[in-house]
């Protein structure tokens, strides 16, 4: 079973060429890279995090495929958000298993993010859905935009 489909790159699509180049490089590297490493341009061993500042909250999105709710630990101390978790390897034993390719990883990870001072540590919620963890930290009431009505006499 071959894992990569060879697609010719066209000069018109620069990003496709980059993808192609990356795939080729990965194939070259395959022989001497550690089993848990992913592509050379990908992040390894920690989940990717997005922090988005919206009008009245900070939204943190973390890609955590395969991690269940009980293996995740999210803490917020003042404005320091800490996400800890463990990604468990499927327990099957190594007997008779032959890996052709291993890009997925397992193990412990920890990410610590320092949110801006305007975050309110009291108003936080977390939600896990389809392998994406979403943490919403509301902004302090005094920094939220307020609508001021102007009275015209």
């Amino acid at each position: 079973m071959y894992t990569n489909r060879w697609e010719p790159a066209t000069a018109l699509d620069f990003f496709d060429s980059l993808d192609f180049f990356r795939d080729e490089m990965e194939r070259l590297m395959e022989g001497f890279r550690s089993p848990e490493a992913r592509g050379i341009f990908d992040r390894t061993l920690t989940p990717a995090v997005d922090v988005i500042e919206t009008r009245d909250a900070f939204v943190v999105n973390v890609d955590v495929p395969g991690i269940s709710k009980k293996d995740l630990n999210v803490t917020l101390t003042d404005t320091v958000l800490s996400i800890q978790g463990e990604k468990k390897e499927e327990e099957k034993g190594d007997k008779g298993r032959k890996f052709f390719r291993k890009e997925t990883w397992s193990g412990n990870f920890r990410r610590t993010l320092n949110l801006p001072d305007t975050a309110d540590p009291e108003k936080v919620s977390a939600d896990l859905k389809d392998g994406v963890l979403t943490i919403t930290v509301q902004k302090r009431d005094e920094v939220k935009p307020r609508l001021i009505t102007v009275n015209v006499n």
Binding site: P8, D13, A48, E53, S68, G96, K98, F100
Partner: protein, 118 residues
């Protein structure tokens, strides 16, 4: 022919998801990480001898400014070429917590046979 196809067809950018392939006693298990993909947004098809996995990300980012951006946005696509030893009918898929597990069967004829020595 390939080249003309890619020049004329509308090109979309896809994210190449991380995957693992493991063979175990007549079964091939393919594990693909698809965070943010719901079951109804996942399309798995076999075209000829190609297995195509297409996953649409349904989680949309809220309106705002990015303070940190590490996640790759875009839909996932992964293509595998199946060889003759794989049974195209017996493919089983399971999606949970953003991980797709596909189980493919190896054809009986391709399995190693034990030969008894008299």
């Amino acid at each position: 022919m390939e080249a003309t196809k890619s020049l004329t067809a509308p090109k979309r950018r896809f994210v190449n998801p991380a995957c693992s392939i493991c063979e175990d006693e007549g079964k091939v298990t393919v594990t693909v990480e698809l965070p943010g993909v719901r079951k109804e947004d996942l399309e798995i098809k076999i075209e000829g001898n190609e297995l195509v996995i297409l996953g649409k990300r349904s989680d949309s980012a809220p309106e705002g400014t990015y303070l940190l951006r590490e996640r790759r946005t875009g839909d996932f696509r992964k293509t595998f070429t199946l060889d003759d030893s794989i049974d195209h009918e017996g493919v089983d898929g399971k999606l949970s917590d953003g991980i797709l597990t596909l189980t493919l069967k190896v054809k009986e004829a391709a399995l190693p046979r034990k030969i008894a020595i008299r």
